[in-house]
Subunit: 226 residues, 2 copies
Amino acid sequence: MNQILVVDDDQELRTTLVEVLEQEGLQAVAARSADDALERLQLETFDLILLDLVMPGTDGMTAIPLIRRQAPRTRIIIMTAYASVQNAVQSLQQGADDYIVKPFKIDGLMLTVRLNLQKARFCEETEAVDLDKIFNGLANSLRRQTLQLLSRQGQMRFMDLVRALEIEDHTKVNFHLKTLREAGFIDQTSDKLYQLTTNGQRAATCLSYICKSLEASAQARPSIVP
Amino acid sequence: MNQILVVDDDQELRTTLVEVLEQEGLQAVAARSADDALERLQLETFDLILLDLVMPGTDGMTAIPLIRRQAPRTRIIIMTAYASVQNAVQSLQQGADDYIVKPFKIDGLMLTVRLNLQKARFCEETEAVDLDKIFNGLANSLRRQTLQLLSRQGQMRFMDLVRALEIEDHTKVNFHLKTLREAGFIDQTSDKLYQLTTNGQRAATCLSYICKSLEASAQARPSIVP
DNA sequence: TGACCTTGTGAAGAAAACTTCACAGGGGAG
DNA sequence: CTCCCCTGTGAAGTTTTCTTCACAAGGTCA
């Protein structure tokens, strides 16, 4: 069951939102201020918070990082009547996940809420399963090289791969290819060519992200060459 | 020297921006379209990209993830005349770093540019680490959770960490903390509080990169919501 | 003081990851 | 057909990583 917290100083809107959310089969409670919300967060956890930006006391913008600190995985959706691009940008930079402008249609709100709940669910799942796979795939240098090679070359034959990697014992490569195949990163065409799967491409992308960032920082501070 | 890329289909604005930036002592070049920019990115790297959202051909919004892929550490600032909250939110969700509304004052632009360059420099000033270390650090789910926790909380005491991770055997946590410490990802303050080192922060950043890219792919294929 | 919590260390064993070796079927060249 | 290369499997052994357990110094609170 999804637990939602509505934070708004407007009592009418607060109760309306809770009602609407409950009609949609979601569990919702309300808080009248950011401080109220923060107190509540100490007692229970929420999947999603609908947060008004303009409120007496601690305002929404200030509250975002405080909430994030208490509840790192909760999705935070900002609602505000005084929408500006600057506000939107700033609140996302502070750690909010989404932004919706008042007045909104119920359908629009529900779409946003549903979408964010779904993302949260996905994050939870991937945290447990996929990341282990990805990092296990990337933890080995030979496997990293393989992914990079396949990413660049597209498709490769087994022995070409072995030679490109400069490994004498081909069965060693075979072992790691098996690991990659079991992790769902590579597969083989009907004529035995190895290639990346979608997940493999994703892993390779992660890898290049990281390589590039290391490269960039190495470049930034050149060492003295003898 | 900071390398800046200006991407806009308006020729006049393009040259003006390049001139202004160069007057301020920054190196700037221009591209007339997103495709043009992407081609350029294959040849050289930039510290910052000023990207128009509305352009013929590939539009700015579409370009953001493509640029991110090529240049993960480059700051992307969106410029647009057709500013809307929704656009701002979406572009930041796609991976942009900041958002500025046309027409802008030169001072306002320069402030944004300077601020973002400064942030970028801050991110960069870390020494190169080898990939094996990073991936070894990230290969274990407990260590990942630890990095994320420390990244969010800043500093934590040992037992608080153990309880947050929900591990009964504290020596198990101790083992992994030792691993992380030996990998240079965490250290301890004089009063025994654990905290991330610079390299640890980088590893945590890598981790969040990957989580975000997974999240983005979740968004790409929304499933049916009950 | 005694009970209890915090913050460790080190050793032993279990589990996982990795390497090496022996072998084998299929296909092409001479 | 014979030789040799490509592509693989499986077992055995090695190394690394992870977990568990026993224990202990120091601090706190009653």
